[in-house]
Symmetry: C2
Subunit: 238 residues, 2 copies
């Protein structure tokens, strides 16, 4: 701390790649909360943005994240991993600022927890194989396996039917407020719709369509995309 | 409410089977918190305890739990699903009573969230296939597939190395206090060690061994086992 002048607390740090699913979740939460952060780029997949370094498998990183996964998050004394734990932490800490991503009362918080778990336990296992084989495979010059893609999309359709029924009742998943639960769906869904061309799965369900158009067009998400994929997207406000 | 006498609030309800993994998590949390609850038995797997009803696939249940999974939890106006969301709710609501399963401050809560996510995202995917093929297969008169069991156990060993390193630093996963994160590991681990005979994976790692012996021998867990598997276990205190 300088002897005079305003004390500027150190920025929190995110270690990861902005184009990776789990790191996106954390960055998006920080942007929604208007929290200043510093991104320490750890290439996770050897994308053409940068030479693959596999820094996240080096001992000094493993000492902080023993599973060798990103993101890792640091905020003063707090060092933590697991994206859905990190976004809960950020939302609780900055509850007085920006949207109430973790709800405003116990009932809302409970529903955010429920739908965050639904995303992790039901939505992700359904959508992930399709995105891996439709999008990531192409990025790495491979051909996706239709025997993986089709069952994945069939499973996803069933989950989307349940989402449609929920979104008929409430504007967002956990209630009539945008929350961590909605936000958590952005990275994978964006890739399936906009990179794998599977938007019809969403647009044929009217409430799901409205929900997706709403959350996808949040200024923070568009801004994030422009930073994460600068060769494809640009920030409409800049 | 009776016109005279003490008002007795309605008990909360758990819909599920006490021998199922996710329902166990919720029951264990309620027992730790000494919360009175009513169990509405929904047979999930057609065990020999009861004729298989598949009530959890009937429309009246699906109206409450659209994914057709157990447990479902009801507490006055709160109706919710997803075990790790339910146990967070119970721990927050009854924070003033019993062990602080969700920590006593923000830093502890953050670590509980992190290790709950580690359990869901790293531990469970590693251990579940082994338990399905070593334990559940036998229960249903099938033979487990060694091509599933071996990779599952290999993956688990790597996770257990990380747990050993963590438990060298703190007595429990999230710190020096028993939490939702530890509790969440009980159901699957119990089956792998005590029903599949894989205790050596744990006992060869001294800190992991001490942790397991500690959490397995909690009176609430032993009592729960006696209720869930009455033909195998008995309550040592009765």
């Amino acid at each position: 701390m300088p002897l005079c002048g305003k004390y500027i607390p150190p920025k929190c740090r995110v270690y990861g790649a902005p184009y990776s699913i789990c790191t996106s979740r954390v960055i998006m939460t920080l942007m929604e909360k208007e929290v200043d952060y510093e991104l320490r780029l750890l290439d996770t997949a050897g994308r053409d943005f940068r030479i693959l370094t596999k820094e996240y498998k080096e001992p000094r990183y493993l000492a902080l994240q023993p599973f060798g996964k990103t993101p890792l998050f640091q905020d003063s004394e707090v060092k933590m991993f697991e994206s859905r734990a990190i976004i809960r932490y950020i939302a609780r800490k900055h509850d007085d600022h920006g949207p109430h991503l973790y709800g405003t009362n116990e009932k809302e918080r409970t529903m955010v927890d429920q739908w965050l778990e639904v995303e992790a336990q039901n939505y992700n296992p359904a959508i992930a194989p399709a995105v891996f084989h439709l999008v990531f495979a192409a990025w790495f010059g491979k051909i996706g396996d239709i025997r993986v893609i089709n069952p994945s999309l069939e499973r996803l359709e069933k989950v989307l039917d349940i989402y449609e029924a929920q979104l008929m009742k409430t504007r967002y998943l956990a209630g009539d407020f945008f929350s961590l639960a909605d936000l958590s769906h952005l990275p994978f869904t964006h890739l399936l719709i906009n990179h794998a061309g599977k938007g019809d799965l969403y647009s044929k369900r009217p409430f799901l369509k409205a929900w997706w158009e709403d959350i996808f067009s949040r200024p923070t998400w568009l801004k994030h995309l422009a930073k994460a994929f600068p060769h494809i997207y640009y920030d409409p406000n800049e």
